[in-house]
Amino acid sequence: MLKQTEGSRAIAEAIAACRPEVICAYPITPQTHIVEALGEMAKVQQLGNCEFINVESEFAALSVAIGASAAGARTYTATSSQGLLFMAEAVYNAAGLGLPIVMTIGNRAIGAPINIWNDHSDSMSMRDAGWIQLYAENNQEALDLHIQAFRLAEELSCPVMVCVDGFILTHAYDRVDVPGQSEVDSFLPPFEPRQILDPSEPISIGAMVGPEAFTEVRYLAHHKQLRALKLIPQLSSAFKAKFGRASGGLTRSYRTADAETIVVALGSVNGTIQEVIDEMRDGGAKIGSLSICSFRPFPLTAVRDALHRAKRVVVIEKCLAVGLGGIVSDGVRKALSGIVLKGYTVIAGLGGRAITRASLKQLFEDAARDELEQVTFLDLNADIVQHELEREAKSRRPGPTAEAILRRMGTVASQIG
């Protein structure tokens, strides 16, 4: 059914239609609206047989999910930023135990300094924990991916993170098509666990594995994600066949056929990028973009196929490998192994800084002329940086950096872009 509603609400309704059996969550901006909506639905019995549990920390949230999933219940939770870090041990545990939990990450920056706005540093911090990671480009895809995620998780017996840009998507009202119960039922069968805690067939889960078998267990986890590379596009096709729209999959190309410059990005910034590409194409530029939806498993072949004919690739990242530069860029480089072309990393949108059409257009034009640094911080205020470096050099005790910068910038509330 077509609706104009908040992204979080739409996601909650999609999850509700997936017949979750145990939902547990701890509040953290900006995912709270999702679990609040689910909590409300559970309270008025709208979720059928579903237990909604208020827990005392994110660590508890994912732990409750681990127990519930191991006992055979379809389980869901959500978190962001600091919360994801707080449950980090459990994140690895869930993947290692092969439990098909689905978790929404309302992408938000990680402190210090504390910041509630969007970037990808949170989900990126857990990229190697063994979870499948899918990034939504818009709110329609955000809700669609959750439906696909349950089926993907349960077929592989692997937990799945659906990453949705905080505020930009979670708190945005958009026009979305929320599928009905019967539609979802015919796409998502009931949960058939591959392992279950059951007195009629007792098993022990969670043994200590020593050097003699650990490598094999880890290899099998890797192999599972490689199988996901095939399953994810299959599910996307099945989804399209049933619901009539393209959603999910490994990657999505936009006007890349004859592109000399291709921009790569994850999540909602792709919308703005596509607008700029259209504008530049109107002006004759040969430019296109690639949206990566499945970040884990990283689709090396699909990325290579999409990019190898370009002269240059610009990777826009909402995350930073401190001391190195890009994170997504690493995967892209690996995909292009052996192919010679110019690659640029652009760190943008950190901590919720707006990525504007104007900035992107300037950036892409610079890239087309190959007048970009290897690593660029988009819209970096060089004056502020310079001033802060000078200030710190002057005394042994310059005080906290973030506070000093804020003092210099003045009232933040009066700024728009």
């Binding site: 509630i116 945005a172 009202y173 703005t272 872009g417």
Partner: protein
């Protein structure tokens, strides 16, 4: 695409206003996107919300930097925040105030704009009158509908009904209707 930027203070329903506007546009079969600028609002802190309306899917995700319309819910922001940044010269402006542009100290400023597209409306007073609470968003949207003709009053009413419980919704609709009438009349007065 038509882009609206709403300025106000936390607690005045700025974000809800943008959301209702988007729902109203949806009611008319159009695409709309509404989102806040700051997620964590302190009561009284300056906040912004944005709404885009178009006839095709909206992909753009940046803040509204070049609004086609500005709605200012709290005139005390006028000389504190650069509210008008990016407003197009043929843009609409609706300010929540009992006073006119000259009295608000904006006579000089508005010379560069199309006078027919600038209005003030006493939305807070209308809200107090009909709803009993000084939340001016619904009334402002009623005035905006009259000013810009981007949405119809019936669509706005449907959006208000979706947002508020029944009794409160009808009161807000009444406030919106009166604001709409006020602005309509003043528009006709200009033409006449």
């Amino acid at each position: 695409m038509f882009q609206v930027r709403i300025h106000g203070r936390g607690g005045q329903g700025v974000v809800s206003g943008a959301e209702m506007l988007s729902v109203a546009a949806f009611q008319e079969g159009r695409y709309a996107q509404a989102f806040p600028s700051f997620g964590s609002e302190r009561m009284g802190a300056p906040v912004m919300a944005f709404c885009r309306i178009d006839d095709k899917e909206i992909r753009l995700r940046e803040p509204v930097l070049e609004p086609d319309a500005l709605i200012i819910q709290d005139p005390t922001l006028l000389h504190q925040v650069d509210l008008f940044k990016g407003l197009r010269s043929n843009g609409y402006m609706l300010i929540n105030s009992t006073r006119g542009f000259a009295e608000l100290g904006l006579a000089e400023f508005v010379r560069g704009f199309d006078g027919g597209r600038l209005r003030t409306v006493p939305a807070t007073e209308l809200a107090l009158k009909h709803v009993g609470r000084p939340v001016p968003n619904a009334a402002l949207l009623g005035g905006f509908a009259a000013l810009s003709r981007q949405i119809r009053l019936e669509s706005l009413a449907a959006a208000i009904r979706e947002k508020f419980p029944r009794v409160v919704a009808e009161k807000n609709i009444a406030a919106a209707n009166e604001a709409h009438a006020l602005v309509s009349r003043s528009m006709e007065a200009v033409l006449a």
